[in-house]
């Protein structure tokens, strides 16, 4: 699929009506599979539900509906399967919190041995199930180059258990285990744990980041990933209104602010080398992103930074902009 650079003025929504049939999104198609069907129990404005819906439907289209999904424990697992109801219209298994990648390896091995090479496997989990407890299994799956696409829906904390800090929680963020109190309120300024870069260090065929701000881009990356054999990783930023303290109707806007500020860079990498990044179209200060979320409220007083921490977050965004060459002066807002 071509990278579409046409944006409707004002809403930034990609106009399907304005592109040819084959370039339209999976979601706009009447053939979309609704793999996660309606009636699930996600919160209003859930970024993960949105991201998963687009990702899985695209993977279904790319595999001619020959798809099996493995799910780590977490919000996505809980809100889609309040049995006897299930939102999953595809074969789906949940085993444990930390083993989705390994279970997917097993499912993929079974397909190979049974001669069902057309049946493809996706593993998915939140940031806790991916960057923390499931990290060992994830790295093992990468290293063996098993034929699995792993999708991390990153909402930057353990939301299912009530917003506790994970290794994907950004510095200074308020969570239930990093309260905004004391001399250094919120999460620590650690060194970070950039799992897309760690995935790249395994030299796997495909790594990408995406956000629910640009769903066409997300669909294109999932589609591309399903056209490749071997271990693949897509890390999707999915805002969580509950955990982030953002308005439910602002999920897409907050994700866009993350992308447009440079704090969450969108890029693709093949065999360990960055091959593409999405240029920032209209740069915004990180403060705009932070101010949209109550988890960063303690960094500001009357809209002004209380100390240097907001500046340090801006410096992180600046470093991303430099590293991934995000300000290329490209004319994209046509």
């Amino acid at each position: 699929m071509n990278i579409i650079k046409f944006y409707q003025k004002g809403t930034y929504t990609v106009g399907n009506r304005l592109v040819s049939e084959e370039e339209r999104t999976t979601q706009s198609s009447q053939e979309r599979t609704n793999s996660i069907t309606c009636g699930h129990r996600a919160c209003q404005g859930c970024g993960e539900a949105l991201g998963a819906r687009y990702a899985i439907d695209s993977a279904m289209r790319a595999t001619n509906n020959q798809l099996i999904a493995v799910n780590a424990t977490g919000c996505l697992e809980v809100f889609t399967t309040p049995y006897p109801e299930t939102s999953w219209q595809i074969p789906w298994i949940h085993s444990l919190f930390g083993n989705a990648a390994a279970v997917a390896t097993g499912v993929a091995a079974a397909q190979r041995i049974k001669g069902r090479d057309n049946v493809r496997v996706i593993a998915q989990g939140g940031d806790g199930g991916t960057t923390d407890i499931g990290f060992g299994c994830l790295s093992g799956m990468f290293e063996r180059n098993d034929d699995v696409l792993y999708i991390c829906y990153d909402n930057q904390a353990y939301m299912n258990t009530g917003v506790q800090r994970s290794s994907a929680t950004p510095p200074a963020a308020r969570t239930a285990t990093t309260p905004p109190v004391g001399p250094e309120p919120g999460n620590v300024f650690g060194t970070g744990k950039n799992v897309p870069l760690i995935a790249m260090a395994h030299n796997i065929p495909y790594v990408a980041t995406a956000a629910v701000a640009d769903l066409r881009d997300l669909e294109a990356k999932v589609t591309k990933a399903m056209g490749i054999r071997g271990a693949r990783y897509i890390h999707i930023l999915v805002p969580c209104p509950l955990g982030w303290g953002s308005a439910a109707h602002d999920t897409v806007r907050v994700a866009r602010l993350a992308v447009e500020s440079g704090i969450f860079p969108l890029f693709e990498a093949e065999h360990g080398v960055v091959t593409n990044s999405t240029a920032i179209r209209r740069q915004v200060p990180v403060a705009d992103y932070l101010l949209a979320q109550r988890r960063f409220a303690h960094l500001f007083k009357k809209g002004k930074p209380v100390d240097d921490r907001a500046g340090r977050l801006q410096a992180m965004a600046d470093e991303n902009i430099r590293r991934y060459n995000l300000l290329r002066g490209e004319e994209t807002d046509r």
Binding site: T81, P82, W92, H94
Partner: protein, 417 residues
């Protein structure tokens, strides 16, 4: 075919004969030779139609098996000791999902202190995880139990753990009859899953279950194991009809006729016990033994029947329920509920300590002569224990226990040179 071979290698061959489709391997002593053997079988092309996956942990090993089994493949792995504990969460998960995975457990002690030698602490730690647990008495039985295990697991859709004493069996070279492929094929049909991840017929597996149904799901797991109480003897009989030898079953009595004393135990130690019983029978002692092959499900009625009218029962076990005494002994007492029979717990062979005929016989003479304390530690070095208790009471910072005990004992090689 009769051959002189190592237990682990024979188990690997037996597993290979069962035509597994996915094998996941992570090394831990004393299980290593089993997965090495299987790796060779797959890589050399002798075992066809099988994926051999080297994983990064035991947790991953069983997780890969879970995925493979749920996708309809016959899955196998093996572990020991710390490895079993590291995969504990997945052990419960496999049974909860009803996946017929077969796993060899090369029984080994659990640390700290770290110890690679044999006892049953690992199997006992996960006795309530919903797996069927079968204990092999000999390497021949280890081979035969694996063949039965796949069939048992797949009939019930319940995972089976075959417990094989680490080193004592896994590393012992002896005469073993490794069956012919045709016989195994006649006994074990291809795996027909009761649930499978298939795009043609999508199902959700592993949903959240609340108080409204959790008890029922657990009851059904229990019900499977109650069915296994009938199935295990049936499969043992069917196995005999095809392979011509006894293997498996629930319990196995030895010279129990008219016995005043019966020793109950699991696994390879029954060999030593039988030797002691032969000696003591010769000397006029009315004594026998009962080998428990199926620990899960635990055959309460069979144990109760076998121990009917016996004056005293000595439960020899290679594990310690710290703060209580014996695990197996508690089970035997449950089997004997309402009966006034003496049950002694004899903790023996922990961390690979040899269980000597002399020591065992001396203990049996003692309990046959007069009543004895409930729990006894065979060959416990009382002087060392008492000295350490005394030493530790002298100062607050008394240091690490194991290292102090070792310092006092000195090198285990010192007495040998």
């Amino acid at each position: 075919m009769l051959k002189q071979t190592e237990g682990s290698h024979a188990v690997a061959e037996a597993v290979g004969l069962c035509r597994p489709e996915v094998i996941c391997a992570y090394p831990i002593t004393p299980q290593t030779h089993i997965v090495e053997g299987l790796g060779e079988l797959v890589k050399s092309g002798h075992l066809k139609g099988c994926e051999y996956i080297n994983v990064e942990s035991e947790f991953a090993a069983l997780s890969v098996a879970i995925g493979a089994s749920a996708a309809g493949a016959r899955a196998y792995t093996a572990t020991s000791s710390q490895g079993l504990l590291f995969m504990a969460e997945a052990v419960y998960n496999a049974s909860g999902l009803g996946l017929p995975i077969v796993m060899t457990l090369g029984n080994r002690a659990i640390g700290a202190p770290i110890n690679i030698w044999n006892d049953h602490s690992d199997a006992m730690a996960l006795r309530d995880a919903g797996w069927i647990q079968l204990f092999a008495e000999t390497n021949q039985e280890a081979v035969d139990l694996h063949i039965q295990a796949f069939k048992l697991a797949e009939i019930l859709s319940c995972p089976v753990m075959v417990c094989v004493d680490g080193f004592i069996l896994t590393h012992a070279v002896e005469r073993i009859d490794v069956p012919e492929q045709e016989l195994v094929d006649a006994f074990l049909p291809p795996y027909e899953p009761v649930q499978v991840l298939d795009p043609k017929d999508p199902v959700s597996i592993g949903a959240m279950v609340g108080p409204e149904a959790f008890t029922e799901v657990r009851y059904l797991e229990h019900h499977k194991q109650m069915r296994a109480l009938d199935l295990i003897p049936e499969l043992s009989a069917e196995f005999k009809s095809i392979f011509g030898r006894d293997a498996g079953g629930l319990v196995r009595p030895y010279r129990t006729e008219g016995a005043d004393t019966i020793v109950v135990a699991m696994g390879s130690v029954n060999g030593t016990i039988k030797d002691v019983i032969d000696d003591r029978r010769e000397a006029g002692d009315k004594i026998g033994c009962l080998s428990i092959c199926s620990f899960r499900p635990f055959p309460l009625e069979e144990v109760r029947a076998e121990l009917l009218g016996v004056r005293r029962i000595v439960v020899l076990e290679k594990s310690l329920a710290v703060g209580l005494g014996g695990v197996l002994a508690s089970h035997v007492r449950m089997a004997l509920r309402g009966r006034n029979q003496l049950v002694y717990t004899l903790i023996a062979g922990l961390g690979g300590r040899p269980i000597l005929k002399k020591s065992l016989s001396a203990f049996l003479s003692k309990v046959e002569a007069e009543p004895h304390a409930d729990v006894h530690f065979l060959d416990l070095k009382n002087d060392i224990v008492e000295r350490e208790i005394e030493r530790a009471s002298q100062q607050r910072r008394s240091g690490p226990t194991a290292e102090n005990v070792l310092k006092h004992i000195g090198s285990p090689m010192a007495g040998l040179v």
